[in-house]
Amino acid sequence: MELSDVDWLVMRARSFPKNDPYSAKAWLITAKSLYPQSFVIQFESYLVEKTAKNVDEAARNLQDMLQNFPHEPVLWSEVHSILESLQKEPQDQKVSFLTDLFAAIPTSTQCLMVLHVSESIPDVLDRCQLLLLAMKKFPNLVQEHGLKLVEMLLKEETKSGIVNNPVNCYRKLLVCDVMPMVLHKGGHLEFNMFHLLQKAIEFHLSYVSQPNTHDHTTDTESTKLSLKIGRVGGGFPEMDLQVADPWGNLFRLLILIGQRLNWDMERDLVMKNKEYQIQALQHQLMRAKVTGAEINNKQILHTAMVLFVYSMVNYVSFIGTDSSSTGKSIDLTTNHPVPSVPVVLLEVFNCSRAGASVPSRSKKQKLDVSAPTIHCSSGIASPTAMLQAFELAVKCFEILNSTEEMKFEFYHLCQNWRKETQSMLSYFQTDMCIYQGNYQDAVMHLQSLTVPSNSKMKVRNSLQMASCYFGLKQFAKACEQVLDLVDTIPSSGPMSSTLSADDSTEEKGETKSGRRLLMLQCLDGEVLPFCLHFLIAGLKEKLASPQRTDSTLAHLIILLQHDWPKHESTFSEVISIIQMHGSFTYNTFFSYVHQVDILEEFAFLDTPEGGKVNLDIMPISTKALAQQRTVTRGVNKGVKEDFRATLEKQVSSAAEPADVLIRRFLKEEREEILKNFV
């Protein structure tokens, strides 16, 4: 059978040995001239150039074919393989040739190739990834196709129904890859950039606050994924949804948008490091607020929004809640160590002035003029950064609530937040309310938090609750919280006695005006002293009240043994009350009082110099004894001697450690203690 002319020409062209690169080409030139409409011949000459690694010639051939034979499947499968090679590692010689080949083709044809091939891909995600890839390699494509890609992803995200979960593959592609590129390189943008920024905030916020449930990364599976990855429906390969520097990315987007909208900002801010950017944005926000022009509103709103979510999440990760980074020792989004126990913000109430320091809600704004100071316990890892994050978050939150328009936008942003983010916000808002002295709202936020009973956050929440109730002068509730709390905290080692802030309340509290706040680690060593502080302060409140009983005084005395002689002045106060009263009855006295100084003081009270106070503190009531025995002088004298003897015995006997004793007291006398506050 004789070959057709075309086939014969191709066959002849193929018949030349490798050492004669010229003759085959000569034949193909002739064949092309004879049969310009033959795809087979053109494709053959393309293959010859490709084999000879002549990038320019091969590119020209390819382009000619794309123009003249746009319907040849063989051609498109070749184009597909070229585009696929673009996403491979360039070490491979074959791949790098194909990449060079693609680069040698004029942009218009590149677009044609990408569009045609991408249209033939049924999966939108695959299609977008191909377009994205091409745009990465050839930024001149961004101008024409960037917008289309944005629209495609937005549409598909909605269509797929996973729009409620912002951490999805479409959104990730949009905010991490497409948006930076389009904002950076794209031409005129018609879409609403703020809408996109909202999408980006949503994504990043959800991303950093998602519970990290899968730590067993299956690298081998996910690294192989190329065009065929990321199906809808939650089964995404984990690698695919990893974001290296989420906050950096969000700031970059904000800056790029700002530059597009001609916000007043440094020209090359986007190139600077994250810390610098945050500083710059913060300054810029304050500047824009000061000038107060209408035109700045959008800038203020969006800068504040981004800075708020950043600093809020950052702060919450510092305090180490359950929702931030469970099970990790390093917070991946902020790169600071996650505390092993939560850090809690509490108000330190100055006992004697507790009443005055509770502001009514209407007066709140005025009182806030002098911001309260926050002291951090020395065990907290990076207190400065944590406080900076907190203050920035508070500042931004206030800005976002300063006008109706901003409130509306802010509310709009928050309403779609996932549960974890909402609870982050609640934690922050609780702390902010405490900081602002707004205890009512703080209690409300605390009550909205659903915390599992075994959670380490339980202690934190109870402490804050107690602090708030104390601030609201609801001592009974505060006390109940504290007593419950003490019950749950396991005893381990001695209580901290070097609590700087606690000291400062005693020593400097009187001299310095303004409220004092304290950041504590939720360790029993730090928490228990604070609990005692609450109880002592609460009991002191009652000293002047008519409901005061001898039990109140006794309870206070027992508690004052903690960290003796720190509270000596309070003790003197109590003693003088007893002296004034002339009698004191508390029959479990010797069960809980072991402090020598206190025992001596009581011995002194019994003497004429001490005021000859009528003490009834023996385990068996003096009155009962008196009834038992005949009331004579001699008998009474015996009682006195018993008292002395018991005192001496109590001094010489080996006492249990003060904190064990106090814990025992709090546990055994719980009901009695609560009675003080009824």
């Binding site: 075309v6 014969w8 010229y22 080409k25 030139i29 004879l34 049969y35």
Partner: protein, 374 residues
């Protein structure tokens, strides 16, 4: 006297210095030379120096003098005038001097002089004896004396493409590649195939000048002749065995160069298809003539090897015809194609490609469709 003239020329500016120099050279050659038996070494050196300083403007002494385009035109005018005004009997001598001049100009890459020489060659007809003489001189200077590739010569098309073009035309007429006695030197063939391969526009340079200089020839027919006859001639040489004047290795090298040259010619034709050039690069008549010469070269009863070589020759002829016929620079002639068809049918071995191409030339509409589908 010799020292005086140099001193005087150095004091003059262009164009006076050149005019004086040319006058001196003309009168020196016309009058003094015959009376002095042989130029002394000193005198010859002085003549070279005058050429170099005031005609080529490649100074050995001071800084390079750069001529503007207007000045170059002026220079050309003066050289032409010098030729036309020189006495008849000394024209050849002046011309001889110019040979040396061109060779020198080439060695120092002097574009204006090479351009002048190129125009001269073109005006003169690249196939004329004078031009052949120049070509021979250059080939012997650059291809035979120094068989190693000369960087000066290999860059000739970039220094003066027109000169290179006309030089190649002349070279193909001098070395026709029609038998053992007209083989082009290997290094010449290497240079030429390289030039055309690297620069697909080189063969068209003389054609470009066609609008200015009515007389022109192109290297295309000559080079096609090389590519077509070459394989047959080489095959016949090989078959002579021990009688062959050149080694087999040498023959293989020639054949390889021809492969490359042939592709280069086709690429040059493809290039001309995309630019606006006047017709005349090659004609049907040229190709018919090449067919005739092939018939002359071929043995009456070729053996197997020669038959294969002859097939290559015919296929090349067919390829050039096919690709050329699609360009505007080809001059068609149905009569000549008919002539070729008869020649191919009656006098030459059967060649499918040539038949295909001739068929298409003679029946442009019918030829394609049926065959594509078959």
């Amino acid at each position: 006297m010799a020292g005086n003239i140099l001193n005087r020329l150095f004091r003059l500016n262009f164009p006076d210095c050149t005019r004086e120099a040319l006058m001196f050279l003309t009168s020196f050659i016309s009058q003094d030379c015959p009376t002095i038996p042989g130029l002394s070494a000193n005198t010859e050196q002085m003549i070279v120096e005058i050429c170099q300083e005031f005609v080529l403007f490649k100074s050995m002494r001071g800084p390079q003098k750069k001529l503007t385009e207007v000045q170059e035109l002026h220079l050309l005018d003066m050289i032409c005038k010098c030729f036309s005004e020189a006495p008849e009997k000394s024209k050849y001598r002046i011309f001889n001097l110019m040979f040396g001049l061109v060779s020198l100009a080439l060695s120092v890459r002097c574009t204006p002089v090479l351009f002048c020489a190129a125009i001269w060659m073109q005006e003169r007809d690249s196939l004329s004896p004078d031009v052949k003489g120049l070509t021979q001189r250059l080939v012997s200077d650059y291809c035979l004396l120094y068989p190693d590739p000369s960087s000066v010569f290999s860059s000739l098309p970039s220094v003066s493409p027109l000169f290179a073009c006309n030089f190649v035309t002349s070279a193909t007429s001098f070395y026709s590649f029609a038998g053992a006695d007209s083989l082009p030197p290997l290094s010449l063939l290497q240079h030429v195939s390289d030039w055309v391969y690297k620069d697909n526009t080189m063969c068209c340079e003389s054609l470009r000048q066609a609008t200015i200089h009515s007389a022109y020839t192109t290297p295309f027919p000559g080079l096609t002749g090389w590519c077509v006859r070459g394989p047959v001639v080489c095959c016949q040489l090989k078959e002579r065995g021990p009688d062959c004047p050149i080694s087999n290795v040498h023959i293989e090298q020639l054949l390889q160069c021809l492969n490359k040259l042939h592709l280069a010619l086709l690429q040059s034709l493809v290039f001309t298809a995309s630019v606006n050039l006047s017709p005349g690069l090659i004609s049907a008549s040229d190709l018919a003539h090449i067919g005739q010469t092939l018939h002359v070269v071929c043995s009456p009863k070729p053996k197997h090897e020669e038959l294969a070589a002859c097939n290559i020759a015919l296929e090349r002829l067919a390829q050039i015809l096919q690709v050329a016929s699609t360009t505007r620079t080809y001059i068609p002639d149905r009569g000549k194609i008919k002539e070729m068809e008869i020649l191919a049918k009656e006098k030459l071995p059967y060649c499918r490609l040539l038949n295909m191409v001739l068929n298409k030339q003679l029946n442009p509409d019918a030829s394609i469709k049926g065959r594509v589908t078959s």
